[in-house]
Symmetry: C2
Subunit: 220 residues, 2 copies
């Protein structure tokens, strides 16, 4: 198993849940729709939910030039990205042993702004397709004005770690005799029936990538 890429990515609390395996890290990044990005603004921590997308060893972000998050990323200061997938509620006999099943990734690093037009275009393509696979090719393409009105930042996936909990509750030996139910309630982010835009003026069938919407790596 690979080692922690840096002291601060080393999983110290419950280290048996930690992993530095890139395939696992990538699968979590690819399945999660959004991340939470932390930065320091005038000495204060700020946490913003935002869309991310991975292209090989890089995580991309986008936003408006007016966004404080993007303006802060332009400074090259450090950020911390956390991506968390909740997989279940772990209900133990003892309140103390309740837990959650989850898959989580943390990445530290200094983002760079993407100015090269080709890389920027590719980043916006992977961000669009991260949310709805196959959508980029079917969308009305980005115009030059829209490209100028969008900032893109890139973060290397180098200082990254994963933390995963699976399985049932772990109670104290003597508590297994208690007449208290214990187990797991599985959780998943599930898509509902697509709602057609009320202003759809042209008759268009729901595309398969919408009707059969799934997150990568999941049945749901």
């Amino acid at each position: 198993m690979p080692d922690a890429p840096s002291p601060r990515t080393k999983v110290r609390r419950l280290p048996e849940r930690g992993s530095y395996d890139r395939a696992l890290i990538d699968s979590i990044l690819d399945e999660a729709l959004i991340c939470h990005l932390g930065f320091v603004h005038e000495g204060t921590p700020v946490v913003i939910p935002t869309i991310h997308a991975r292209l090989e060893d890089t995580l991309y972000f986008h936003g408006s030039p007016a966004s404080r998050m993007l303006r802060n990323m332009r400074s090259g200061d450090e950020v911390c990205v956390n991506v968390t997938l909740l997989d279940g509620l772990v209900i133990a006999r003892a309140a103390f042993h309740n837990s959650m099943n989850y898959r989580s990734v943390v990445i530290f690093g200094r983002p760079r702004m993407v100015d090269d037009p080709d890389e920027k275009w590719s980043a916006l393509e992977v961000i669009t397709n991260h949310v709805v696979a196959g959508r980029w090719a079917e969308s009305r393409p980005m115009t030059d004005k829209e490209m100028r009105g969008t900032l893109v930042a890139a973060l290397p996936i180098s200082e990254a770690s994963a933390k995963v909990r699976t399985g049932g509750p772990k109670d104290d030996m003597e508590d297994y005799q208690l007449p208290i139910w214990a187990g797991v309630v599985p959780l998943a982010m599930t898509p509902g029936q697509p709602l057609e835009d009320a202003d759809l003026r042209v008759e268009v069938a729901v595309p398969e990538y919408v009707a059969e919407y799934r997150r990568p790596g999941t049945g749901a």
Copy 2:
């Protein structure tokens, strides 16, 4: 409508999505299972997913005395808490206008450690019941040793704001003629069938609060 409680909680990007209404803020805090807590550790931002629970005007957190997050909260430094519920993917005709429907809360403040035993007990009760309503009363109660082995921190819900997007895509006028499907894919965190602990030695029926598990304020 109430005004922003501080300059830094004022929603500046897309201010029409911002709200400072406590009932809305509370409903988002209560529905979300976890939050993302940001703090500054040795000059670097750190973002940690953690369980929160609200009791009136206070948000509570808990963890091990070995947790870096709790140790940092003990310092009384500022934290930023973000809670985000994803409600749908907004698929526009133009890639540029894709969006998401969400309900999000941000809270800034300085946490305090909860040392008073009664407040600590109440906090652990609301944290347990935040995840599974009604579970605290049916659990094997916390022991003194477990209480000592758990730190609890409190954050006032005073410097808080919500940001909400609802509805369908907003495309450019001329794009409504394009033969491109547009609409919303609703998203929800949905519970699956409870999985009984394989080590359940006593015959106990699945409690109703597990079999009929729902997040507050949702049908799912």
